[in-house]
Symmetry: C2
Subunit: 374 residues, 2 copies
């Protein structure tokens, strides 16, 4: 059982691109910020192969923007992340874990500074707007918080740049990683960033008028036919290979940034006030009990591969002691192995150590890898 | 297109009863607080008929509890709702809209006072835990906020009381509406309230240990066989007939309690501080522009009935002026009519007035009803 039927209703919000997503034969979705996010078109492996060679259009409207605007906007954004956001220029993006006063990760958005006093938190799957509204109310901050009509469309894959150059000109080649420019598409001005949820390169276009969604899709599609464009989506195989964590799958409110390795995105002790300061200082001092690692899981004696994760799979020593959990996995054709993200107790983490993955009745051997899956 | 395929993942949390839900032939779910909530077993109409005559077990684990505990628990709960919660005794439940400082509805939970300084907000579909965590942080309140391992199981239908008497004895008959008692089920003590998301009577059992979910289900099921028990779920036909609003479908953050008729659950001006005081005073003074009404929608000349709502359906005057939206609808066999909830501009609200519902290419006549669908 890996797919269920879900009834549509107003609570499951439509996206501006949904019509095209259905037309291009989407086979399944996940629900993300109460919106549909495609998970598979042809098959995970076929989608992956195409993504790594060509260019795809991704309906990632579910990456909603939490807009924080006003005189206290920077103070509020600084408060909710240990990352130093004062360094973020207008039209720059920064990946930043949001961390509460207990050190728990609330979300891991890309923060886009869209104007002097306006930030978008381009969020993963949790209701950040309610959290920041609560904090702003409690702190009496002078900010306006909203979810604007902004729906990202991803253009991902190695041919994404050539495609967008055809549409927008050579200026596209000069866009730095995690930088935005304003572009005119579908007859309107909107932001486009060099970013996206894959390691294959590409752009995210922040459509700012839902009514223009199909026009935007069609405009890029038409120019993309010569590049063998297809409808696609964040791909589990590609994200494992590239090492992209998924909030809610790999880490939850119960995890802190150190155990997930997200501390590489900030330096403790920035000047601005941040609510996680004391909690993170303490964790940095005391150390963590578990850490996220990469695993390669072997097939069993019958050649079966570890099944997809529904909740988490327990990890034990070869002797049977519980030492961790697998949070995500996917079979990678490139590595000819099942790749997995897992939390393991630090005293058991050693590259090349063998551990056991318990998938219900079945058990699989796995090896702890380095960051490059070696 | 009324059903989509959704991929399972850790982000779509399992419920303690899910195994039985699948075994009993669930046909579709909705996603609610990142958990599965069944929407149909046999068919909406067959499920409805059975619910109105017999007794059903409902997996409503998705009604998560936001637990607020500590010296400032009451102050925080009072702050987020205009309803006077100081009157809520231990083991009592109160339905209370949560309203922000702008008058917008954030959720409409049942608040259960489970101990002197401990409240559960048994929530509808929005991430209230983040909002109250934000407020508590900003206000430096002395509370502990968590989502405990508590998953309601509904026992709903006219035979629910006889069934629970068979299991727990005559004490069950004395449980008042929206009152709880502690019961021993599945070998553990847990709360049971006379409540539930139907007008057919019944109980909600607050299972407090997921590991005992199947045992609890099986224990009630075995005793329920003589009452023709079935697996069921909140039913759209029954909820329309009974007049139960659904947060996220019928009202959103953009609505205030007055326009939804939820002001009947509170009296403005309670003594305790509440964040919506000024906003609600102003709305009460100025009046609202639209109000929720009940509509009966007629079949068209070909006998077609209005299709299910995906987002909302526009409402116009017979002359074509936009005057509102339909938020929910269902065909009721009892009334032999399509019942609907709708927002209509107040100047157009008059019982028996005829309006037009625009469902894509098709148009339907509808009549504004009184509260009893007359």
């Amino acid at each position: 059982m890996s797919i269920i039927n879900v009834s549509l209703s107003r609570r499951l919000r439509t996206t501006p691109f949904e019509t095209r997503v259905f037309e291009h034969g989407v086979k399944a979705f996940t629900i993300y910020n109460k919106m549909t996010l495609p998970t598979v078109f042809e098959s995970a492996e076929a989608d992956y192969q195409h993504l790594c060679e060509h260019v795809q259009l991704w309906d990632v409207a579910c990456e909603r923007q939490v807009q924080i605007k006003g005189p206290d906007a920077l103070a509020l954004v600084e408060l909710i992340t240990p990352r130093d956001i004062s360094k973020c220029a207008v039209n720059q993006c920064m990946y930043a874990p949001l961390v509460d006063e207990f050190g728990g990760i609330i979300n891991d958005p890309i923060i886009v500074r869209v104007a002097e006093n306006t930030y978008w938190l381009s969020i993963a799957d949790s209701d950040v707007v309610l959290w920041v509204k609560g904090i702003a109310f409690g702190r009496k901050l002078n900010v306006d918080i909203s979810e604007p009509d902004v729906s990202p469309l991803g253009v991902q894959g190695p041919k994404a740049e050539d495609l967008m150059v055809d549409i927008l000109g050579e200026q596209v080649r000069d866009i730095g990683f995690f930088k935005c420019i304003e572009v005119n598409l579908a007859g309107a001005n909107m932001l486009m960033a060099r970013s996206g949820w894959s390691g294959q390169g590409g752009f995210e276009i922040y459509l700012n008028d839902s009514a223009k969604g199909l026009k935007l899709w069609d405009e890029i599609w038409a120019a993309g036919e010569k590049y063998n464009i297809r409808a696609g989506c964040p791909n589990s195989i590609e994200r494992l290979e590239t090492g992209l964590l998924s909030f809610g799958n790999d880490m939850t409110y119960a995890n802190n940034p150190f155990e997930c390795g997200l501390d590489r995105f900030f330096k403790l002790g920035k000047i601005a006030e941040y609510m996680s300061r004391q909690a993170l200082d303490k964790i940095a001092r005391d150390g963590v009990q578990r850490k996220m690692v990469k695993l390669k899981i072997s097939a069993d004696a019958q050649g079966n591969r570890a099944p997809a994760v529904r909740e988490t799979w327990p990890i034990t020593t070869e002797g049977g002691d519980a030492i961790g959990i697998v949070t995500s996995l996917a079979y990678s054709p490139r590595f000819d192995a099942t790749l997995a993200f897992a939390f393991i107790d630090v005293e058991h983490i050693q590259t090349d150590a063998t551990v056991t993955i318990v998938c219900g009745e079945k058990m699989f051997d796995a090896k702890i890898c380095d960051d490059k899956w070696q």
